[in-house]
């Protein structure tokens, strides 16, 4: 380290967490890795953040990983178009963010307070949207939740899988064309469901 600047040091540490998460995932975030990537001695990690768990919690807190995009349902012509837009946004978000994919992957193997908090927030915003769609479309809320689950669940799965696998059911999950196909299927489904 060159200067003596705690703020800058903390930032270096958090930046190192970011690069490790994006490249190798949360599982690889350890004291030694963070220390070597950041160029900061690991004592400072404990001194400034307490533990790796707290460091990760801070990282999650800094980066808005919950769905914070605004989706005013009133702006759309009808529920069908609104729904399509929501899922398109969901796919885009997950496909363009390596860190978010790693977070979703990490959630499949871990359970801790930080993750539980993320899940709660996500659950609330998701159910808000599902409620709105159910109300405006007249569809049973369980059905709306079910359809939503089928789509977001598979999208999450495919986006994670795509980092280690190129094809799923003949769909090229690494290329835009493959996702265009899936989007067409989603549109097709909604056209059939919302008469």
């Amino acid at each position: 380290m060159t200067t003596k600047d705690r703020n800058q040091t903390e930032r270096r540490i958090l930046d190192a967490v970011g690069t490790i998460v994006e490249t190798e995932g949360f599982e690889a975030v350890g004291v030694n890795a963070v220390a070597s990537v950041s160029g900061v001695s690991k004592v400072l990690i404990y001194r400034y953040f307490g533990s790796i768990e707290q460091l990760l919690a801070k990282y999650l807190e800094d980066n808005d990983f919950w769905l914070n995009t605004e989706f005013p349902i009133q702006q759309y012509d009808n529920v069908k178009e609104f729904s399509k837009a929501v899922f398109r946004a969901y796919i885009d978000m997950l496909r363009k963010s390596p860190a978010l994919r790693k977070l979703y992957r990490w959630e499949l193997t871990t359970n801790n307070p930080a993750i539980a908090g993320l899940r709660e927030r996500r659950e609330r915003t998701a159910m808000d949207i599902i409620n709105a769609v159910s109300r405006q479309s007249g569809q049973d809320i369980d059905q709306v939740a079910g359809i939503s689950t089928l789509i977001t669940g598979s999208v999450s799965y495919l986006c994670i899988l795509a980092e280690n696998c190129a094809v799923y059911n003949s769909l090229e999950i690494n290329s835009d064309s493959g996702w265009e196909k899936l989007l067409k299927t989603i549109d097709f489904m909604f056209d059939k469901i919302f008469d």
Copy 2:
């Protein structure tokens, strides 16, 4: 060890792999863990299997993790009922097998020859079914593949997630009742799609 029986020793080792996989997952299968769980010294693991990778390959080879269930489409009244049955079987399989869930989870973080082989087989059998459904229903094959992807993808995701999370979109993914709801949604979807 009591007796000197190579076959029995190999079996003990493979059994240990099985219990570790079921409880902690493939990520936890290391020489030391296998040695301590099996009660066999780790030298024998290398002697008899070469490496952990080869040991895991053997484990995957012994246990039929690819879809080997027979699904004769002719037995069913129509394509709709056949499709529903296929996905019901998929859900059952994944929900009742901890090892299979751990395998699917492992695939999200790993890529090696053994996994690639599994994926190929799975891809082939899946596309066989998709082709048959497309032919008999007259639906576009990309749409059938898309629908199938939405369902199996989300089911895989939810089954893995359920080990660390109880609720997703208000669905209790740990209980039969939650899955009954999702099955109803799938049925509902097929009723809408296959007129």
